[in-house]
């Protein structure tokens, strides 16, 4: 009857579930039940509750809900970096998919540092998240312990490796390296070098190199790895190109650990008047935004960034019972990378 007059000493000042209940003339637990659509609320009360919610412009307090249920609708994601060309699409699709089911994403960057990752995981745990996502399979002991003890779904993204326990959603870096090597061998190249990057902590490039090396050895060719000393990727790419094409032994094809390095080499080759791919074929990894725009356009391999984010989100929602499990089973979490044959190789 009387208008709701909260007049709290503390509190946010916003309408609470009790205000709604009072206005609708029902118990607050009924409002709670109705709003999360768990059934068992009559249509009549439902309508009264709807009206009260609208009148008070009620927004449920998710913090209180999370505390009461010890299961907040939050998912933490630790990713090496947000602004690089690589992970943004994963974050985007991950966040969009979870948002659609009422979950929010907390984000933190590790910058390829296992210690920063551990800090982020520790902080996230304080929000009692419903699930956690990390990148790759290399973590500190502390992170492993935190993840194991959290009792929530944990997904490792990007790097798919056999024989690991946690849910993994990603692709095989070794297979990517093998793909590059097979492609170049099939095109007739034989003096194929591999250029690592200089980002400390990006261990996936080593996996790719190993995949490349294995294929070469299978065909009786000795692998050839070059590690630039320049730190800036464009400079490192140029340095690698010079080192691998000016010596006595000349590469006829070069696989770079990523498209930044390859772009550096491509630009250097233009300046030096070198014909690509005739004198030396160049190949990258990542399919960055500029790669199709270079002249010659860069042959590269596209990692399934968007697909990883979406599938990781789906796996989490399934583990939380918010989504039906997929029909077919098997290695569904191992995604393929697409080789984009363009002009440079």
């Amino acid at each position: 009857m009387s208008p709701p007059t909260p007049r709290k000493r503390r509190g946010s000042g916003r309408a609470t579930i009790h205000d709604v209940a009072r206005l609708a003339g029902v118990g607050s637990i009924t409002v709670s039940r109705y709003l999360k659509k768990n059934g068992y609320v009559s249509a009549e009360l439902g309508a009264r509750i709807d009206a009260a919610v609208a009148q008070l412009n009620y927004v449920p307090n998710l913090v209180a809900g999370g505390l009461a249920s010890s299961r907040g609708k939050i998912v933490g994601m630790v990713i090496p970096n947000i602004s690089g060309p690589i992970f943004a699409s994963t974050i985007q699709s991950f966040s969009d998919t979870l948002n659609r089911h009422g979950y929010q994403v907390l984000l933190a960057s590790s910058y390829f540092s296992a210690e920063q990752e551990e800090n982020a995981v520790r902080t996230f745990l304080g929000w009692s998240p419903a699930a956690l996502v990390v990148t790759g399979r290399f973590h500190t002991k502390g992170t492993e312990a935190l993840l194991a003890g959290a009792g929530i779904p944990v997904v490792e993204t990007w790097d798919y490796h056999p024989r690991r326990k946690p849910i993994q959603v990603g692709y095989s870096n070794a297979e990517v390296g093998a793909q590059s090597a097979r492609y170049l061998l099939d095109k007739g190249y034989r003096r194929i070098a591999y250029v690592l990057n200089s980002v400390a902590g990006d261990l996936s490039a080593l996996d790719r190199r190993d995949g490349y090396a294995a294929v070469l050895r299978e065909r009786g060719i000795k692998p050839w790895t070059y590690t630039p000393t320049e730190l800036a990727p464009f400079d490192a790419g140029r340095q690698a190109l010079e080192a691998l094409t000016r010596g006595r032994r000349k590469a006829d094809a070069i696989v770079f650990a990523n498209d930044n390095l390859a772009a550096g080499a491509l630009l250097a080759s233009q300046r030096a008047g070198m014909r690509v791919p005739q004198q030396c074929a160049l190949m990258g990894f990542g399919d960055y935004a500029f790669s199709p725009l270079l002249l010659p356009s860069l042959t590269t391999i596209r990692p399934p960034g968007r697909e990883i984010g979406e599938l990781a989100a789906r796996r989490i929602l399934q583990a939380l019972g918010e989504l039906e499990p997929d029909q077919r089973n098997g290695r569904l979490n191992l995604l393929d990378c697409e080789l984009l044959a363009r002009e440079s190789a």
Copy 2:
């Protein structure tokens, strides 16, 4: 004496502040005070608490803390999209700066839709965030009401406009348009066209066009706007180039609403054998990753994305009392864009 045996009926199973207090032999409020370093805890008790925290591997429950203080250490950020070339660096620097002060960032994408923005803001409010960040100054009435009623610091990013009340951190799109026009006029170009993009909802391009048009009118030149019908930006750029250089009236310089459009035009010009900038100068906006790599490299204007994120975070921390206000005052939130004079104009 006896080891802590929680044995709770509900709860997360993790150690609580009470477990720490019991183990350290102090009251739980003392633990709370000590952990947030508000002083008033003796060194001796502090040491005992530290030991207990370490022994139990205690992680404070931020959900409970947020509920009790009705002031969670969370900041919500609504941004048009994460994976585009534009906003990623803002998200990165924003998140990093806040993380450093113990705040976590909740992220949502609006895809330039004011309705989606409102939904995101409504959901964020449920987490009783410490502050909220939105992009631009165009919101629904509902969003305005939610933001005004939230009673927390709100920052509008990217678009700085005179005479708005909320904290704004950004640059002037009108000034960007004016910058482009002045640069081209100073280089001697006179038949300068402006090409809009076709992304519905990106109203900032219109502001840039207005700035360009104002400068041209000042010099007695009639502005010339072209709006492509193609949706894909590269196609739209090509279409604009053709329309503006093939007719009877030929542009000698074209300003594009963004680098994607400009890149489409640049590639089309190469294919058509047109000399850039001699026959027609091309200019973009955004300084995307590929822009310095194009041939000719793209003259463009770099928006201060990283700076916006960091400054927005600083303004929020200052509003929350976590950081000292800056010494100097004035229009400190209006950032400059850098014109990168490269080869295409």
